[in-house]
């Protein structure tokens, strides 16, 4: 009867009573002295600054820490970007941190056979042993002059990325540093680049806008600047109209004024039709675009216009665009193709133009990461120019510079082996005719991440003998995931640096436990939202829970140190000589110090009072650590209106001379014509059409008869880029994604189709495409367009921990991974993985 005893103790304590049994009036204390009892005030612990990297927004946050434990996360109130708000994701990070399934010590594989159904039989080893094994392999490659057969795979990263991602392979002598960028969003950056020479995510002036077209964008859930979009959304709905183009009823669409449930992949038709209406009806923005010389609108349906009749202001090629593409692209034409009624297209186009220039055409991966999505990206961004919202109030904008330091020059640390190794073709085959892969204005600069699997499998250009991967999980995150499984089986020696034992870990020979980015490491990152660019700190708010180390700095250091012991000291010398603590002038002596020194080094301009900067004045490193964020001054309007754009024509290019120049250079490099390049890239356009935004018919894998439904996918508002599925909160609140279910992975199908294929909610089905099959649950949902099947990405882990999977030991997934039914293909201009636009057709069979 413990209860009653406790109850009695309580009862007696309440009544006050006498101090009967105690012999003294004062307690006899030998070791203590009495102080004031600490008052119990809620949140009397500390809120320490860090940064969430659960999506691409990278929000400044604070972590509540008490007695060495991280307890909860909130937005950093010093941050103007997210104005102290966070979306649901950072909360989940707490459960990631304290995930029992984290790798706690280095491990090595004892089963030499690799494969999905092979148990790697990992056994724990020491860091010394692990790093030794890694550098042994690498030194072998140096001895045999095969350094190029080493690859470094990178997933997510911080501002310190280049210390590892660039310096290690370069000084070692490999061209193969492969980032994940192209599976993420690069096609989205293509549009703004070829039109206004801006290669990055845009910022959008939501606060002042009057109309937003969301191109398969769901900013209250995912994509970009999520907390800002959420916090501003009530206001946006009050003062602006929102039109969402998306095959499924997204969270944003459910709150929007207009939902345009486009047939997947046909977004480009809507772009052209909206532009057609704006020009034909003469409602473009004259200030930005200019006007006909005699003031009369000559844009009439079906008729070409004399270029000389139009005098452009800040733009270039409007008439070319009309003549080459737009003149026949009526809403009636688009309605047929896109499945969106013509009246709705007219209404959206007119309301959008009427709101000019406070009108946003918000571009996102949904409409761009398609096989022929490059031109949708370009067109959707060009709509901003038509209404003059480029860098205008309530429109689209760039961000101010965040002055992070680059890593010091590497050249003098390259020996002959390294120089020779670097010259080999990269394993992702970029630069070949079908992969111009340009990024940031340069040809062959973009990575073709997903093609690496094919490069490895075909040993083309050569075989990969060893790889290190960190903060990545390509086996899960790349389309055509089965190819990655095979490719990973083929790599003789693979090292995975990871927080959780992931799918890619299953193929590792050495597993190195990584620190969690939000809680256990130093780092600095830059990002922007709400018209504010910022630099934000990451700090170890608690001691690392396990024997884990920081991927980018500490592990790099340990490898460098081990190299040096084996007679190759260049990397160690580079780390040791080039990075000094800007405050003390000291150099790092071990990996832990290196993490801090490197962070201070790279972030110096944000906090060193002697640096001039346009933004917050921070006077010391300590102050930067305390406030956690440096805010640039608010992004100004119309900066490039005055300065001119950095395009070939210095104008905003509807007809992209910039693109033309790049394609021309690429074609010349291959001794061929641009048309041949277009063909190799699976684009239909020939001649001048290739330089203006235009509609192209989407490519779909699978015969319509065998695979009747078009498959399309979306992101979860709880996905921390596929890394949160092993938390109970993710699973318990999965139904916050409209149409989804708790603890499950559902394919959302319109009830009409469900009837047609004889399935109902709760049925288990096998979903098959030309790529492969997965097993999921059916959900009848009116928010899906008939003829289409929608599924969220994020579930379907077969190795990420015991919550993410149904059975970790047997490798039974919870749901199915979309990437196992999405075939691998590309938006070839940028080398991006094409995952949207309904590239796969599917069939469903009840099981």
């Amino acid at each position: 009867m413990g209860i009653s005893r406790r109850g009695f103790i309580k009862a007696s304590a309440v009544t006050g009573a006498t101090v009967a049994g105690l012999s003294a009036n004062k307690p006899m204390l030998t070791a203590f002295s009495e102080t004031d009892k600490k008052e119990q005030i809620a949140e009397s612990g500390k809120w320490l600054a860090s940064t969430c990297q659960g999506c691409t927004t990278w929000c400044p946050v604070q972590v509540y820490v008490e007695n060495g434990r991280a307890i909860k996360v909130r937005g950093n109130p010093n941050s103007k970007g997210n104005h102290g708000k966070i979306c649901p994701r950072p909360h989940l990070a707490i459960q990631q941190l304290y995930d029992p399934d984290r790798v706690k010590v280095p491990m090595k594989r004892t089963n030499p056979k690799k494969g999905r159904n092979e148990d790697p039989k990992f056994v724990p080893i020491s860091w010394e042993e692990a790093i030794d094994a890694v550098t042994d392999k690498m030194m072998e490659l140096r001895k045999s002059h095969e350094t190029h057969k080493f690859a470094l795979f990178r997933g997510r990263y911080t501002g310190a990325a280049d210390i590892f991602y660039k310096a290690l392979p370069t000084i070692f002598g490999s061209p193969n540093n492969i980032s994940h960028s192209a599976i993420c969003a690069e096609a989205e950056k293509l549009g703004p680049y070829v039109t206004e020479a801006f290669w990055d995510y845009r910022d959008y002036d939501l606060e002042h806008t009057r109309y937003v077209i969301m191109w398969s964008t769901d900013p209250v859930s995912s994509n970009r600047q999520v907390p800002h979009a959420i916090s501003m959304f009530g206001k946006v709905l009050d003062q602006a109209k929102v039109a969402v183009i998306d095959p499924r009823l997204s969270a944003t669409a459910s709150k929007a004024d207009e939902w345009l449930p486009v047939i997947p992949g046909q977004d480009g038709a809507l772009v052209s039709a909206i532009a057609h209406v704006i020009l034909k009806e003469g409602i473009w923005n004259r200030e930005f675009v200019g006007d006909f010389k005699d003031g009369e609108n000559l844009f009439a349906k079906g008729s070409a216009v004399d270029e000389a009749a139009f005098e452009e202001n800040k733009t270039y090629g409007i008439v070319k665009w009309w003549n080459l593409e737009l003149k026949d692209r009526t809403p009636e034409w688009a309605a047929e193709i896109s499945g969106v009624p013509a009246e709705q297209i007219y209404r959206v186009a007119r309301d959008f133009a009427e709101a000019a220039p406070r009108a946003i055409s918000w571009l996102a991966p949904g409409s761009a990461m398609q096989i022929r999505g490059g031109y949708t990206s370009m067109g959707a961004h060009a709509l901003n120019a038509l209404v003059g919202s480029i860098e205008n109030i309530g429109g689209t904008n760039r961000g101010e510079k965040v002055p992070l330091e680059s890593i010091p020059e590497l050249d003098s640390y390259l020996d002959e082996i390294a120089k020779k190794g670097k010259k080999h073709e990269k394993i992702d085959q970029r630069g070949r005719i079908q992969f111009p892969a340009f990024a940031k204005g340069e040809l062959h600069k973009g990575v073709v991440t997903n093609n690496v699997a094919d490069g490895i499998l075909n040993e083309d250009p050569y075989d990969i003998k060893m790889a290190i991967g960190y903060w990545n999980n390509f086996v899960f995150s790349c389309t055509g995931a089965q190819r990655w499984e095979k490719a990973m089986e083929k790599i003789p020696f693979y090292v995975h640096i990871t927080v959780n034992p992931a799918e890619m870990t299953q193929y590792a020979d050495i597993v190195l436990p990584a620190c969690h980015q939000l809680f256990e490491r130093w780092g600095v990152i830059k990002s922007k939202q709400n018209m504010n660019a910022y630099g934000s700190i990451q700090q170890p708010v608690i001691e690392p829970l396990w024997d884990c180390k920081v991927d980018e700095t500490e592990i790099g250091w340990l490898i460098a140190e081990s190299f040096a012991k084996k007679g190759f000291s260049n990397l160690y010398d580079y780390y040791r000589n080039e990075f000094t603590d800007p405050e003390t002038g000291k150099k790092a002596t071990n990996e832990k110090e290196f993490n801090l020194v490197a962070t201070k080094f790279l972030s110096k301009k944000l906090w060193d009072p002697s640096e001039e900067k346009k933004g917050d004045q921070i006077s010391s490193w300590q102050e930067f650590v305390d406030v956690g964020v440096w805010n640039a001054k608010r992004t100004p309007y119309k900066k490039h209106w005055e300065e001119g754009f950095e395009t070939a024509s210095t104008k905003f290019e509807f007809y992209s001379e910039t693109l033309k120049g790049l394609l021309d250079e690429h074609a010349k490099g291959h001794n061929t014509s641009i048309d041949k390049v277009m063909e190799a890239m699976k684009y239909e356009a020939r001649g001048d059409l290739a330089f203006v935004p235009h509609y192209e018919e989407p490519i779909r894998y699978g015969d319509e008869k065998e695979f009747p439904l078009i498959f399309t996918e979306h992101r979860s508002r709880l996905n921390r880029e596929g890394r949160s599925a092993n938390t109970t909160w993710y699973q318990e609140f999965k139904d916050a994604d409209p149409g989804d279910e708790k603890w499950d992975d559902v394919i959302k199908i319109n009830p009409i189709d469900c009837k047609k294929y004889g399935v109902k909610s709760g049925d288990r089905v096998k979903v098959t495409s030309v790529q492969g099959s997965i097993e999921v649950t059916v959900k009848e949902w009116e928010g899906t367009r008939p003829g289409v099947a929608v599924k969220c990405y994020g579930q379907g882990h077969w190795a990420y921990g015991r919550i993410a999977t149904m059975d970790y030991q047997k490798k039974i997934a919870r749901g199915g991974n979309n990437n196992e039914i999405l075939p691998s293909d590309y938006e070839h201009l940028s080398g991006s993985t094409a995952r949207h636009g309904g590239i796969a057709r599917i069939k469903i069979e009840k099981i």
Binding site: R5, I9, S12, A13, V19, L22, T30, S33, K38
Partner: protein
């Protein structure tokens, strides 16, 4: 009625913790007194195992054959050193992986002291996570519980028992059982473990 009864229950508990605290200090002439007092206090705790152990301890200290020096040697061997202490009476040893006495768990313990309104005297020779200090802390909490009637002092005890004592005392006792040569300390270890378990489950 109830009040009388439970007041004495709290004070009994206070007394047991005080005595245990004293018994984990270097043994002196008063050791037999403590053992005797402990036996008397435990009589009303209704636990046969505890009674049995304390009875036996009483028997041992009453035995003239054992000299104080034996106890001192044994105490030093187990709990002090100088070379290798066989059953370190510091919680951090058991709560943390590495051999570091002032680690994170000690910080947690200190924050408990702070919440209870105590701080370890800077002149005090033992680290804050020494068993006798921890027991003195609970003794104090019980004292304050009766004095103020503030239930926080009860909650704090429960939390401290859950978070700290129930975690390491069993491991500590296992070390004593393995290395102790004199029955008195074996008994003391068993008694401590048993009492902590009993006390935690009744709170």
């Amino acid at each position: 009625m109830v009040t009388m009864q439970t007041d004495s229950l709290i004070s009994k508990r206070a007394e047991i913790y005080r005595l245990l605290s004293l018994m984990y200090k270097e043994p002196g002439e008063d050791l037999s007194l403590f053992v005797h007092l402990l036996k008397e206090t435990l009589k009303e705790m209704d636990d046969e195992a505890l009674l049995k152990i304390s009875d036996e301890m009483n028997g041992i200290v009453a035995d003239e054959n054992q000299s104080l020096t034996d106890y001192e040697i044994e105490y030093a061997r187990l709990f002090v050193g100088p070379f290798k202490l066989l059953a370190p009476p510091y919680s951090s040893i058991y709560l943390e992986d590495k051999w570091e006495v002032m680690g994170r768990s000690t910080q947690t313990i200190e924050s408990f002291y702070q919440r209870g309104g105590l701080c370890v005297q800077s002149m005090h020779s033992k680290p804050a996570d020494h068993i006798s200090i921890q027991f003195e802390f609970i003794y104090y909490l019980n004292y304050k519980l009766i004095e103020t009637g503030d239930l926080e002092y009860l909650e704090l005890q429960k939390e401290f028992l859950y978070r700290i004592l129930t975690h390491w005392i069993p491991k500590f006792n296992a070390a004593i059982q393995e290395h102790a040569e004199l029955a008195i300390y074996k008994h003391l270890g068993n008694l401590t473990e048993r009492f902590i378990q009993l006390d935690y489950s009744s709170l």
